[in-house]
Subunit: 228 residues, 2 copies
Amino acid sequence: MKITVLGTGMVGRALAGRLAELRHDVVVGTRDVEETLGRTDSDVMGNPPYAEWQQTHQAVTLLPFAEAGSHRELIVNATNGGGSLAALEAVGAANLSGKVIIDVANPLDFSQGRPPILSVSNTDSLGEQIQRAYPEARVVKTLNTMSAHVMVDPARVPGSHGVFVAGDDPSAKSTVKSLLGELGWPDEQIIDLGGIRAARGTEMYLPLWLSLWGAVGGGDFNIVVARN
Amino acid sequence: MKITVLGTGMVGRALAGRLAELRHDVVVGTRDVEETLGRTDSDVMGNPPYAEWQQTHQAVTLLPFAEAGSHRELIVNATNGGGSLAALEAVGAANLSGKVIIDVANPLDFSQGRPPILSVSNTDSLGEQIQRAYPEARVVKTLNTMSAHVMVDPARVPGSHGVFVAGDDPSAKSTVKSLLGELGWPDEQIIDLGGIRAARGTEMYLPLWLSLWGAVGGGDFNIVVARN
């Protein structure tokens, strides 16, 4: 598929790199290509500069948002939650119309320190905001409940742990489930939560995820739904 | 132990009944004993009236909040989240001083319909509100991430699924872990999330829990933290 990944951080790189390995035609979108490539320091999470990552992922082209988003089949929103709506606006409504948007972002707000709070929650969610802003796009919230490493390599965590999908369009969810399968998520680990409103629950899980990160001592974990 | 369970709903009954079976000295607190015993209809969740439950649990005495809370060693808050602070106020600060309060409640707000939203979240939690209101009590948030049936009978769900504890007082958490052990939670299934602030995460998990309830088709499930 012709896939655009929005965002050049850890999550965007993990998804773009893996999807390119899987022989998809992948481009990455950023606000300002020159600025992104000009960075020489590691980011706050300790990730090396994008230019360094690009050297080992030359199949993946970096483009400005609007160009990255044009004539593509599927858009992955892997920007910071606080910048997601602006990034999608830069891509442009015409580029998003009819397209599947996989929304992986979490609306984390670090302005009051760590651990972060959510910039939207409880009565709304980032997934719903994106769907409302682009009613002709087909938003599927998924993969936002785990680390980037686990997203693209679920086998690194043992057991039948789960990935959630939420979205209003059944055919978009089918497309996403198939792509999740390519990333290593078997059908029985994909849990369909219903419409995009359920994005609220998966985003509001983040504070618990952050506490678990501390209790487990790192991001190499995920949750399994145990049932009879 | 001399244990008071506040709340006469499904959760209060499940905990009071099981703790009494385990030979604890259990009383249940309610706002108005006469009114609680006078109800003849099932509640909105389909639970039979309290008076009917009491017939098969005669070791458990029903008392007004203040009386139920006096001279006890441990208080379990199993009231509706929206009524928890009022219930604890009725118990009275003097009765709560120095005591362990196990807070099992969730601040669910059904005023905007179903699924409910939370009446407090993101920048605060019910657990923190209770701890702030009674700084001399020792609040431990636990068991609020599962159905009442699973709380008191974890073996009904297969696998090493987890129960979270969060609280500022280490000795109170030890007491609670030991009581969880009596309820059937082995040590390795008890996940200590740190201070009471982590109550935010376990309460904000509720919207996801409610979505999972729909996906699973009932409350007989719980989450396992899978890790390397």
